[in-house]
Amino acid sequence: MCGIAGIFDFKSSRTVTRRSLESMIAKLDHRGPDGQGIKIFDKVGLAHSRLSIIDLVTGEQPIHNEDKSIWTVFNGEIFNYIELRELLVNKGHVFSTKTDTEVIVHLYEEYGNDFVKQLNGQFAISLFDVKHNKLLLVRDRIGIAPLFYTLQDSKLLFSSEIKSLLTQFESAPCLNQNVLDQIFTFWSPVSPETIFDNIFEVSPGQMLIIEDNKLTKSSYWNWNFSEDNHYLDDDDKTLSMRLKELLIDATRIRLRSDVPVGAYLSGGLDSSAIVSLIHNYTDNPLRTFSIGFDEASFDETQYQNSLIKHLNTKHSYLKCTNNDINDEFIDTIWHTETPILRTAPVPMKILSGLVHKNNYKVVLTGEGADEVLGGYDIFKETKIRKFWAKNLDSKFRPTLLKRLYPYLDVSKSNTVYMKEFFGQDLDQPDNFSFSHITRWSSTAKCKAFFSDKTKANITTNALTTMQQTLPANFSKWHFFNRAQYIEAKSLMGGYLLCSQGDRMLMANSVEGRFPFLDHRVIEFSNKLHPKFKMRALNEKYLLKKAMWDDLPQNIVKRFKQPYRAPNIPAFFGTKKNEQLMHLLSKEKISEFGYFDSKKVKQLLRKIEKGRAIGNKDNMALIGILSTQIWHHLFIENFYKTFKQNI
């Protein structure tokens, strides 16, 4: 990955200055430490910070076509660039570099705005068509590469990260309280909004077009599922072979690079599948990286070791301690640029640091398998609740929830509790929110800590906002696919791929590549009947079938362990971080104004007494702390951080 930034002035000529672009791109140094490039036109400026991965010699950006009428700055990778280059050369295009970037300008010449449909990759592209004074901002289908924009007077500013946009703000930004409400419901903002008022993301699969001085949006791809039982009609064996072929190719093209490529190894099925595909079906030298924890319930080291032994991979390992999380949390929020409800991104940042230290710039990971191929417990919970909804009076049906939550007491006396929590919307199983309502309502309990002022400033309903983003044919999909869509668009797009993904990788100048998120894999999986994703409660059924002979049996057969990291214990153990405690003080809570200082004090007291052990307390503490840090970094310190040269 790299960093891109730029400015388009709708009104005046020659207002875009090199100084503005330099200050914007300087904030993206961590994304592209290998070089910078700037190009200024009449009303447009493009800037680029480079992490050199393909064509180390002539790959500097911005890059142009033959007659310099089309220019681009681009962050990401076009994995099928070799095939596209061959196609374009055959059509008469002349290339001056060996980069994947140059494919973009020639492809645009050939196909206009539809060029993007030919790309297989992860990208944020800014393309300027000089002759037509037309600017395109394009983001990949899934939302792997970030791209943000804002309108300031007559200018549109865009960048890979928000901190770069803030260099052009005259005054400190504001927190969007409706989005805070969304984060405290879904763990993520509803695209295209961000926690910053008046700063938006280009949504995954979308293109922003500025043409004839008008800004329009166009969607070129979205998750779409088969309707009315029109699924792929083949047996398990045939479908699992097709899936494997697709995954091998998705992995193969993601190894294209002029620098060595490594892989993350968590010990779960997904990363193990990717690592074994690299080992068994490519000639890429295997190099793996993993992280572990002191606490056994978070640690997967034994499974990592099993695969390392099985494949004989050269491996680097790091143990993440509670103190590490405590020490790294502020810097983590600097990179996420948004409040989070879990500390889980922190170890991912530490892990990318290990990769960087070993002089690797690119890693493949198993991200996306759970969303694409049906792995999450929330899909199981949806199936069980749907199963229960068929006979609401059944004594036996809700007992299946024990499969997910073994601690549940499903005795008669607890039936009321079970119905109260897991029984939500059971009488309305076709509601759009059916699959996620228990998670969302559980998370939303953290809103009890909002101050009266915050509550008064929330003017939209998070669920209604989410519902408005759903595609027209959403209700025609199988309930399992509806759950997949919501998961992909909310938690994956708004948290896993950015706060826990790109931002934690790029904090250490490392690029992540995700074979399970190849759009061909997604499109294939979306045509499968849900029974191929989850057979009864056996998750990722077809993937297990596809990888059965390639992986150690203890990995294929193991129960899924969600990736988690220590939350409250990281901050309230033997070592206290004074700056964090200060941000949680009554004075700072009152000063920033988002939370009720009395309630926060009660929560801290509960934590000090060791009584805060529940999920809600953990989410509330991390949500409050990260919001306080966010305000401190981007609002309280705005002038110091972003305006120091003025």
Binding site: I384, L400, A536
Partner: protein, 82 residues
């Protein structure tokens, strides 16, 4: 695939984690042999409902209907699954 093959495969893959047909006899008691526990039975019911588009009532969840491949086949037959 016959219904018998379907049920056998489901139990072998999901509870015994194997494709080896010799590990399951149609007369084996799923509970006594430790192949399934009580939530395993409910998961099997979820599977039967999904796969054969039937609905199973609480009073049908008894060992006579669910405890072996043979008893499951008889039960499905009584539900007119063909």
């Amino acid at each position: 695939m016959s219904i018998e093959e379907n049920i056998r495969r489901y139990i072998l893959e999901n509870y015994l984690f194997t494709e080896d047909q010799s590990e399951l006899d149609n007369k084996d008691s799923l509970l006594k042999k430790g192949i399934m526990d009580s939530t395993g039975i409910m998961e099997l019911i979820l599977y039967l409902e999904e796969e054969f588009k039937i609905k199973i009532d609480d009073d049908e969840i008894i060992p006579e209907n669910m405890d072996s491949v043979n008893s499951i086949l008889n039960f499905l037959n009584s539900k007119h699954v063909t």
